[in-house]
């Protein structure tokens, strides 16, 4: 039994991480993606916070899946998600007030991140806890990856640094718009473009090998 289950759990993890990456493939949870990715550190923190809420919520939803009546399930999921978001909110305040200030209202806005409710409804409510949490962890990792890719580019172009470490000399002219809202839209659009082009090329190569 376990010999079959182990590869399957790893597959579930990978699926959330890459093939169904919430940022670049499913294009969900856009609001925090664009708002907090002005630096790689913020991106990682937000990604981890969301991942924690994802895993914890999916775990609890899955544990209670046989008990929650169908009629009130969405309301119940929302309350569960809001609970863990409140917990994360206090945790971040306890860890670093500077980080809390940087992430701002978007910590509490994790509760309306479509990814979490979507996963809870589509997956966690139908799977045993471990499988649900692994899948959630994959999604969380994929989300963090997406945020970091976005945050890294914006930080490099907009501040000339990565994770706070200056990369270029003092003469670097920061491309300030990258740190502002328009920059967020442009960089994400460019990443999606890159992903689409890469997916197209892979399809063509696979099609050519079958021909």
């Amino acid at each position: 039994m376990s010999a079959v289950a182990a590869p399957r759990t790893w597959d579930e993890f990978l699926e959330g991480l890459w093939k169904q990456n919430p940022v670049f493939v499913m294009v969900l949870g856009m609001c925090p993606t664009l708002a907090v990715t002005v630096s790689a550190v913020n991106a990682v923190s937000m990604g981890l916070a969301t991942a924690f809420v994802l895993v914890a919520s999916c775990g609890l939803v899955s544990a209670m899946r046989r008990v929650v009546p169908k009629e009130v399930r969405i309301a119940t999921y929302i309350v569960i998600i809001a609970t863990f978001v409140t917990a994360v909110d206090y945790a971040i305040q306890a860890i670093s007030l500077a980080l809390y200030d940087a992430l701002g209202a978007f910590i509490q806005l994790i509760v309306v991140n479509c990814i979490i409710l979507g996963r809870a409804e589509a997956h966690a409510s139908k799977s045993p806890p471990v499988a649900a949490m692994v899948n959630a962890a994959g999604m969380g990792a994929g989300f963090t990856l997406g945020l970091v890719l976005l945050g890294a580019v914006r930080e490099i172009l907009g501040s000339g640094a990565l994770f706070g470490i200056a990369l270029f000399g003092a003469n670097f002219q920061p491309w300030v718009v990258m740190l502002l809202p328009p920059g967020g839209f442009f960089v994400l659009g460019t990443w999606l473009l890159a992903f689409a082009a890469w997916a197209r090329r892979r399809e063509r190569r696979e099609g050519a090998s079958h021909a």
Partner: protein
């Protein structure tokens, strides 16, 4: 939508008792988690806030060694700030004391809308010269490289080393409103010279200081001796 086995009739809706029990269970579990998280982090969060506050007050009042929090009450009078809600209209401020327990300065927060979001500053006030002697930024979300120059621009910071905040004869308001003026046109000690190219954020700082001073200083002036020595 989940697949249900083909049945001649729809499954009966869950009885009300089950609904209530389940929701009660969910509420109980969630309540436990929230309260647990709150209690676990309360000490760390309070400590963090106190450290951040002390750091910013000591930055605007360098001679400070300790501080005490007070409320300037709307009807007149000054009271030590308790842990509960401040009465409506009360203005919170900090009295900083030096190593000998004498008043080293007063610090208070001000806020005004900047370019992107609220700009929150802390200013230090010396009753002796009736002037503002320094500002520090509490929270800033302005354009990086432009608005955040208020932290780095030495000429702008110099505006606040002796900013006139005298009260008028009736002690009802500032004698001269603190205003931000265009870069290079500062003519009086109660004006703030804006940063060229960062007018909106500069104006926000000026407005924040003015609004806070206007609401605090008239209330505080008649009762200054109450906070002159460390409680």
């Amino acid at each position: 939508m989940s697949e249900s086995p083909p049945a001649p009739s729809a499954p009966a809706p869950a009885p009300m008792r089950d609904l209530v029990l389940t929701l009660g269970l969910v509420a109980a579990v969630c309540g436990l988690i929230i309260v647990g998280a709150y209690q676990l982090t309360l000490d760390a969060v309070t400590a963090n806030r106190r450290i951040a506050l002390e750091r910013s007050v000591f930055k605007v009042i360098p001679a400070a060694n300790s501080l005490a929090e007070f409320l300037a009450l709307p009807g007149g009078g000054v009271a030590p700030a308790g842990a509960g809600q401040a009465p409506a209209g009360a203005v919170r401020f900090f009295a900083a004391y030096d190593a000998q327990g004498r008043l080293a300065g007063i610090a208070a927060e001000g806020a005004a809308k900047g370019y992107a979001d609220t700009v929150r500053i802390l200013f230090g006030y010396q009753p002796g010269c009736q002037c503002i002697t320094g500002i520090g930024v509490v929270s800033l979300r302005e354009t990086p490289g432009i608005g955040d120059k208020i932290v780095t621009d030495k000429a702008f910071i110099a505006n606040f080393t002796a900013l006139d905040a005298r009260l008028n004869a009736e002690l009802s308001a500032l004698a001269h409103e603190i205003r931000t003026v265009k870069h290079g046109t500062k003519a009086s000690p109660w004006q703030v010279d804006a940063i060229s190219g960062a007018t909106i954020t500069s104006r926000a700082v000026g407005k924040a200081v003015n609004d806070a001073a206007q609401s605090l200083l008239p209330k505080l002036a008649p009762h200054l001796e109450k906070v002159s020595t460390k409680p």
